[in-house]
């Protein structure tokens, strides 16, 4: 059994699986149930001035018979009085001293407001704070959440205010609704953030009912954009984590959030630099017990790999994440079809024929029809192996090159040397 404990900027937890600030962490009852089920930490549902929520709040995108590929909500922060939450945080922490309890906070962008709330939540014994600069709806109209999270100077300033009062580590939760997340991440760090977490939800409209013409969800016939999360957002979140992890001026621990629903997702986030993960949709879809499968899977994975502590995973893939301009243009793979396992659905053929490079031939031999790649024409795009329904039936094999590795940037530098006056830009 590997050591699953984590330390995220000084916040310790028995395992890397935390509940994200959202409905699952609304009350002490829920958070305590979650800890009993095995969650390592919880970021309490964002505290602030209690709000009024709409009725009809969530919607989901189902994909080909699988429920909840993506999840959309127009819920705001906590709708319960601060005192009630504080009392329950206190009780929860008392019952579970070794679990991470982090308070998510959102107040108006005013120094004294930040000082006040930080003091009040630290008084009840939280292990850390998470500043919610990410909620994309409702709160933004009040100058909070994403509205302040989209302005790097406001992120920095508010982080600073929180840090002035804070004794526990401060995590800044970033919004993905921005062009370059490393900018706000950097400003959070400049403001003194001990860690950053990402992503909050992405602006979204889950759908439109083609019969009633109403938005999905709608509130009495009217809709508004919500925030998107769940499995569909994972690649977006993973990229944002990776970009921050490899950015030389960020350098603080990351709590990875967005679309994590299995232990494998968690491993990916950790390899890409997250010191732990937060989860909301998967818990909302399956209940707290889903963490058992995550813990068991992670444990077996680490044992299988002979890794003693989950923290050893953190950042292991970061150095492999680079810029397009640094990729080796002389590296070559081609598709190869294993006719023994191929089930002849011909999906690869038509994908390549119609939408890629026309290099998969449909042939007839002694034992019937078969497919073959003309390797000399294959550009190694992976499309065929992506549409192939059978694992391993199409393998992308590396073709040795007699040329030395050369990236676009290498090429540009060489050209520049050869030909002063070259003006093409570096690609980053």
């Amino acid at each position: 059994m590997a050591d699953l404990t984590i330390n995220l900027a000084g916040i310790k937890a028995p395992n890397p699986f935390w509940l994200a600030s959202a409905p699952p962490t609304n009350t002490g009852y829920q958070v305590q149930r979650a800890f009993e089920a095995g969650w390592g930490g919880a970021v309490w549902k964002t505290l602030g001035e209690p709000i009024i929520n709409t009725s009809s709040r969530f919607a989901a995108v189902h994909f080909n018979g699988q429920r909840v590929a993506g999840f959309n909500n127009i819920e705001l922060i906590t709708d319960r009085p601060l005192e009630v939450n504080l009392k329950e945080i206190y009780e929860t922490k008392k019952r579970f001293p070794n679990h991470a309890v982090v308070a998510s906070l959102m107040v108006e962008p005013k120094r004294e407001k930040w000082h006040e709330i930080v003091k009040r939540v630290e008084d009840v014994g939280v292990d850390g704070l998470e500043l919610n600069f990410g909620c994309p709806h409702g709160m933004a109209e009040r100058g909070m959440g994403a509205a302040s999270g989209q302005q790097p100077d406001l992120v920095e300033k508010q982080t600073m205010w929180a840090k002035e009062a804070a004794k526990t580590p401060v995590i800044v939760k970033l919004t993905p609704n921005i062009t370059d997340i490393t900018v706000t991440a950097r400003h959070a760090v400049m403001g003194g953030a001990d860690a950053i977490s990402m992503i909050n939800t992405i602006n979204s409209l889950a759908g439109v009912d083609i019969h009633s013409w109403n938005t999905i969800p709608h509130v009495g016939g009217k809709g508004a954009h919500g925030g998107y999360c769940g499995p569909a957002v994972k690649p977006i979140a993973l990229n944002m984590v990776a970009e921050c992890a490899r950015h030389p001026e960020i350098g603080v621990p990351i709590s990875g959030i967005g679309g994590i629903s299995t232990w494998q997702d968690a491993v990916e986030f950790m390899l890409m630099g997250a010191s732990g993960v937060q989860i909301c949709t998967a818990a909302m879809h399956h209940g707290f017990r889903i963490v058992e499968e995550m813990i068991d899977g992670l444990n077996n994975y680490l044992d299988e790999k002979g890794i003693e502590s989950v923290m050893e995973l953190v950042g292991k893939s970061v150095q492999r994440y680079s810029n397009w301009g640094d990729l080796d243009l002389n590296y070559k793979v081609v598709a190869r079809i294993n006719t023994d396992t191929c089930i002849n659905c011909n999906k690869c053929h038509i994908a390549c024929e119609d939408t890629s490079h026309q290099c998969i031939d449909m042939l007839t031999g002694a034992s019937g029809n078969y497919l073959e790649v003309r390797e000399e024409d294959c550009v190694g795009c992976n499309l065929c192996s992506i549409v192939c329904p059978v694992d391993g039936a199409i393998e992308m094999v590396e073709i040795a090159s007699d040329l030395n590795p050369m990236s676009w940037n290498d090429r540009q530098r060489t050209l520049a040397r050869l030909n002063a006056g070259q003006t093409e830009m570096e690609v980053v």
Binding site: Q264, G287, I290, G297, P389
Partner: protein, 466 residues
């Protein structure tokens, strides 16, 4: 007199093919698709429908997330013979029958997914469990079938020193010897035996309690005894001619096909009548088909509605070409001049109006006797009770069914627990591998509880104070 062709055995290659596992396992693709179809229900009915309470949604989610070790562990943790059960459980009336998708679409193939995960564990080869720290207590188990193995596994995990006494040269009980290989290959059962052995359990094979070691040895040298000796071979039919050459016991017939030592019956080209219509009759009938029999008839005095074989077994037998002679009771077996079976004399039956128990009784139709030409007859009308052994232990029983406290499985002797087929019958339990496994577990847990509370009683207050 009709012409009789001498019966032969099929060629070894043909036999090997016929007795190889009939049902293919799921491919990785099928397993991924099927596991992702599972809804991961909360308070899932499938868990409740499994006698051993396997956390089915959990193991299926683990398959879906490429955690096959976790899946196999979840299965085998609840059911020490979970690999065998994945093949022989009547899932239609257990887990799969309870699946909430039955009405909505198609139930999840729980048995096949269970097999997929446990097959992985078999191939992977590494043990899933560890023995507990020795607690200084010793338990003897009589019988190394599903019930005995299950009790042994749980006791070993709790730190008991366990010795299984098994009369046959190989442990595993009917999983190893009695259920046809094309449904349950012997290697699967032997893997389960090995898992139990790897926890430090001593399995003394070829030792029959009551014959090779006296019952008193066990009673004197162990802190507790689990009686898990199952049932015996098929009881006599009580009709004339049943000892003629060519009359076989269904369980012995199957056993012969699962053992290297016993001769394979020469049934190639034979006309076989199987008497009875329970699970054993189906196994014996399909086994005969695969031994090369030309024609196999199941002869049963009631109708399809009363037979105890499961629907899927009936379907399987029909697919194998087995014929059914309903409302037909054997009355006499007639042999030729060499004492070899030649005819089964039968009488046609009819059912009476339902009696007090709601069951309709078959009564012979007078003068309807007829002769069924046969080369072999297989009896499959049930299993004998181990009354002799039970009496050697001095246990209270109801015509060979050991009387137990259903919660703890303790018998009339507080030191002796009983589980499996030996407690089945007289309205008590089901003769299934999975229920034997669950009962074995219960015995083990009751023994653990017993000694835990005994330990509490022994420790005085001053000991508690440290």
């Amino acid at each position: 007199m009709e012409q009789r062709i001498p019966l032969r055995s099929l060629a070894p290659e043909l036999l090997a093919r016929n007795f190889a596992e009939a049902e293919p396992g799921l491919t990785p693709k099928a397993a991924v698709e099927e596991s992702n179809r599972c809804l991961y229900c909360y308070d899932a009915p499938c868990i409740k429908a499994c006698p051993t309470g396997i956390n089915i949604p959990s193991f299926i989610k683990r398959i879906a997330t490429s955690n096959l070790k976790g899946a196999a562990t979840a299965i085998m943790d609840a059911n020490p013979v979970g690999a065998s059960c994945s093949r022989v459980c009547p899932t239609e009336i257990l887990c799969e029958g309870a699946c909430v998708l039955n009405d909505a679409s198609e139930p999840i193939m729980i048995g096949k997914l269970q097999r997929y995960a446990t097959d992985w564990a078999i191939q992977n080869g590494r043990p899933l469990f560890k023995a507990g720290t020795p607690n200084g207590r010793k338990v003897a188990i009589v019988g190394g079938g599903p019930a005995g193995l299950s009790a042994a596994r749980e006791l070993a995990r709790d730190g008991f020193a366990v010795t299984i006494y098994e009369a046959k040269p190989l442990a595993g009980g009917l999983d190893t010897h009695g259920i046809v290989s094309f449904r349950l290959p012997q290697s699967v059962s032997l893997w389960e035996v090995e898992q139990v052995e790897k926890l430090g359990v001593t399995i003394r094979t070829g030792v029959k309690v009551g014959t090779d070691v006296p019952v008193s040895d066990l009673m004197d040298n162990f802190d507790a005894v689990v009686l898990a000796a199952g049932m015996g071979y098929v009881p006599p039919l009580g009709i004339e001619g049943e000892f003629l050459d060519g009359v076989y016991d269904a369980i012995q017939l199957v056993e012969g096909t699962k053992s290297d030592e016993l001769p394979i019956l020469a049934l190639s080209g034979a006309r076989v009548a199987v008497i009875g219509a329970g699970n054993t009759a189906i196994d014996a009938a399909t086994c005969s088909v695969r031994l090369g029999a030309e024609n196999v008839k199941i002869v049963y005095r009631r109708t399809k509605d009363e037979m105890t074989a499961y629907d899927f077994e009936y379907e399987f037998a029909k697919q194998e070409g087995v014929e059914f002679s309903w409302l037909t009771a054997p009355s006499r077996i007639i042999g030729d001049e060499n004492g070899k079976v030649m005819h089964l004399e039968c009488v046609r039956m009819q059912l009476t109006e339902p009696g007090a128990d709601g069951r309709r009784t078959p009564v012979p139709i007078e003068g309807s006797e007829f002769l069924m030409p046969v080369d072999a007859i297989v009896t499959a009308i049930g299993q004998k009770r181990r009354t002799g052994l039970i009496e050697m232990f001095g246990l209270a029983h109801n015509r060979g069914v050991v009387q137990i406290d259903t919660a703890t499985h303790v018998t009339s002797n507080p030191k002796v627990y009983a589980a499996g087929d030996i407690v089945f019958g007289a309205g008590q339990g089901e003769a299934m591998v999975v229920s034997a496994a669950e009962q074995g577990k219960r015995c083990a847990h009751a023994i653990r509880e017993h000694f835990a509370s005994a330990a509490d009683d022994e420790s005085g207050p001053e000991q508690v104070a440290i």
